[in-house]
Amino acid sequence: MSKTILQGGRVIDVSKAKEIKADILLEGKKIIKISSDLNSEDIKSAKIIDCTDKIIAPGLIDMNVHFREPGRDEEETIKSGLSAALHGGFTAVVMMADTETPIDNEASVEFVSNQARRAHSAKCYPVGAITVGLDGERLTEMGLLSRAGAVAFSDADSSVEHSGVMHRALEYADMCGKPIISFCRDASMIGSGVMAAGDVATELGFSGIAPLVEELRLYRDLALAEATGAHLHVAGISSRKSVELIREAKKNGVKVTCDVTPHNLFLSDICIQDFNTSFKVYPPLRGKEHRDALMQGLVDGTIDAISSHHNPVGLEEKQQEFLAAPFGAIGLESTLPVLLTQAVGRGKLTIAKLIQKLSFNPAKILQLDGGELKEGSVADITIIDTKLANTIDTDKFYSNSANCPFDGYHASGRAIAVLLNGKYISL
């Protein structure tokens, strides 16, 4: 079998959240050795890839993406979505169940896996729906869905309204050893809100979405998680109070994890002043006090992961008036450059800590392979140049959609190559 050496890179040891200078020897699909002095035997027979000054990270995992196949393929197929993932530096994604025909049965789970296999691209782990047809009432066959490959259960962007159903879902999913991913949103509190409540919304004449919409539901779900002892993963939090609630719950031993999106971290509701619908996202972009709290949550470990919530919306849909345009932003091809620039570049997170949030923790939360560079493990690796200047340009995206709020953003740093099952792919 052919051998490859990634030579001279800054290898991320995620478990210790630090980087070490080492070479990585690969053979076939596997990592054979990580060492700062490989023997001459190894070096002689291997193909050398010079990685001087580059970050060698375990393959990045986006734990919350929406693709549109089957149903609205023109917005994103599994293939186009995975291609976007790969070019953004992600070797795996976790796909939500809210396709037009939801992933609520074994056949749908297998369909996703099969399409992903045929794409010969990044890996795709399906999430099964909590309820049939995302109706919030009838539980799916979680046992069978797990067996078919579902890695978690979630009704995606619709929160289960009925507390009794959510209670049973947590109990049942726990039996299957899978987390419930909850997108906290109390529908009765949203009204006709289209952006964050606050002075910007008031001035523009838009109904606001108060942080309470998220927090009220979070209170409930945390209480249910505590009562059942099941693993709750809260997707996409956006408010200061949510960070505090989760911090407190973790302290009290509740089995809860959570993630945040790059746009909720770095973009503010002021962006909406020009009525650009790319900034119409859910949860909505909020003010500085919330964004600072989210960053603090990342730093102190309250927030476990960063995920794009990649949500493709067609141009003709987004070109409508602000009220009529759907919520949603794509992020697979902007997440890493934006984070390298805004979080690492500005000294808020170390690169090792960032990789934890983008790889190690998602893998741990969902019990996926990868997330760590270990001898003997599958060689899914992301190679990052932290200095490379680049501009986010939706015209060059591999995604079928272009609704990226970071379009035009000047970043410093991006992925330059990935290894997928040991295969080197230059980006």
Binding site: G191, G198, T202, E203, F206, F275, E316, E321, L323, A324
Partner: protein, 309 residues
């Protein structure tokens, strides 16, 4: 001073001098409507298109007359029976109308920001005739014009705006304009109709009209739009009228020269009693006449800013 703005999208975008310039121009043009031949040739050869995606009678009529008195040609588009029902987008519709050689587009739409979007996509001048709950700049101008006409100045004038502030574009445009010209504004209504963050715009908030009415020079009662009320922002019209309607008792508590305004159409018995609406304090019909003058002024100034090829 020369007028430089291409569009009138909102009063937020105008500075004090620009506001005064429109008001002064309106004052001059008001006289035209008192002549026996009510027409001047200022916009001769220009075409104005009225795009109303939301029903309107008086604003639409006022804009029509304003354009006609300045000798502009006029075309009108209303949502019903248009190609929008065939799935054409807003920008398609507007671009098609512009392609017919229109110089100015007056647009009303239920979504905030539509005039801004049109301004970005079209070459002609855009006049906002009301965008959702965002702005209604010509209504703001005519309200301000009317106060200035009545009291001689806006500096230090205390204005109460009563009603559904949350959903009111009239309130927002009034607030932007009045504050820039030195007036003080208090918004009055139940908390469910007043977002707390409105205070950031620089206004006082009051939930008690009986207290506020004693201290103000002007009360502007907004129309309660039942279609915007969603689910129970207040319990009943009866209760609203009792707590926030202008009536004889409240008129008595107020200054003798209180100026009573309403953007129309009035729900008599809700926002104000008939007695108040028809009292000597009421300037509601002057507002309508002034609206015409203000809209003529806007057309006149925007036309002057055009660069002729």
């Amino acid at each position: 001073m020369k007028w430089t703005k291409k569009h009138l999208l909102g009063l937020k975008d105008l500075d004090r001098n620009e506001l005064n310039m429109i008001l002064d121009t309106a004052e001059g043009l008001k006289e035209v409507s008192t002549r026996s031949i009510k027409k001047v040739p200022a916009l001769q050869g220009r075409t104005v298109a009225l795009l109303f995606f939301e029903p309107s009678t008086r604003t639409s009529m006022s804009f029509q007359l304003a354009a006609q008195r300045l000798s502009a040609d006029l075309i009108q588009f209303n949502k019903s029976g248009s190609s929008l029902s065939k799935g054409e987008t807003l920008i398609d519709t507007a671009s098609n109308i512009e392609a017919m050689g229109v110089d100015m587009v007056v647009v009303r739409h239920s979504c905030p920001g539509v005039p801004q979007i049109l301004a970005k996509h079209l070459n002609c001048a855009i006049v906002n005739a009301g965008d959702g709950c965002h702005e209604h700049p010509t209504q703001g101008l005519l309200d301000i014009f009317t106060i200035r006409e009545k009291l001689g100045t806006l500096e230090g004038v205390k204005v109460a705006i009563v009603g559904d502030i949350r959903h009111s574009r009239v309130a927002r445009s009034n607030i932007f304009g009045l504050l820039k010209l030195g007036a003080k504004v208090t918004v009055v209504g139940p908390p469910t109709l007043i977002p707390k963050s409105i205070a950031k715009m620089g206004v006082e908030i009051s939930y008690n009209l009986d207290e506020t009415i004693k201290k103000v020079d002007v009360v502007n009662c907004l129309r309660i739009q039942m279609e915007r009320q969603g689910r129970s922002n207040f319990p009943s019209l009866r209760e609203y009228a009792l707590l926030f309607g202008m009536n004889r008792d409240r008129l008595k508590k107020a200054s003798k020269n209180l100026v009573v305004m309403h953007p129309g159409p009035i729900n008599r018995g809700v926002e104000m009693t008939a007695e108040v609406a028809d009292s000597k304090n009421s300037v509601i019909l002057q507002q309508v006449s002034n609206g015409l003058a203000c809209r003529m002024a806007v057309f006149y100034l925007l036309n002057g800013s055009r660069i002729d090829v």
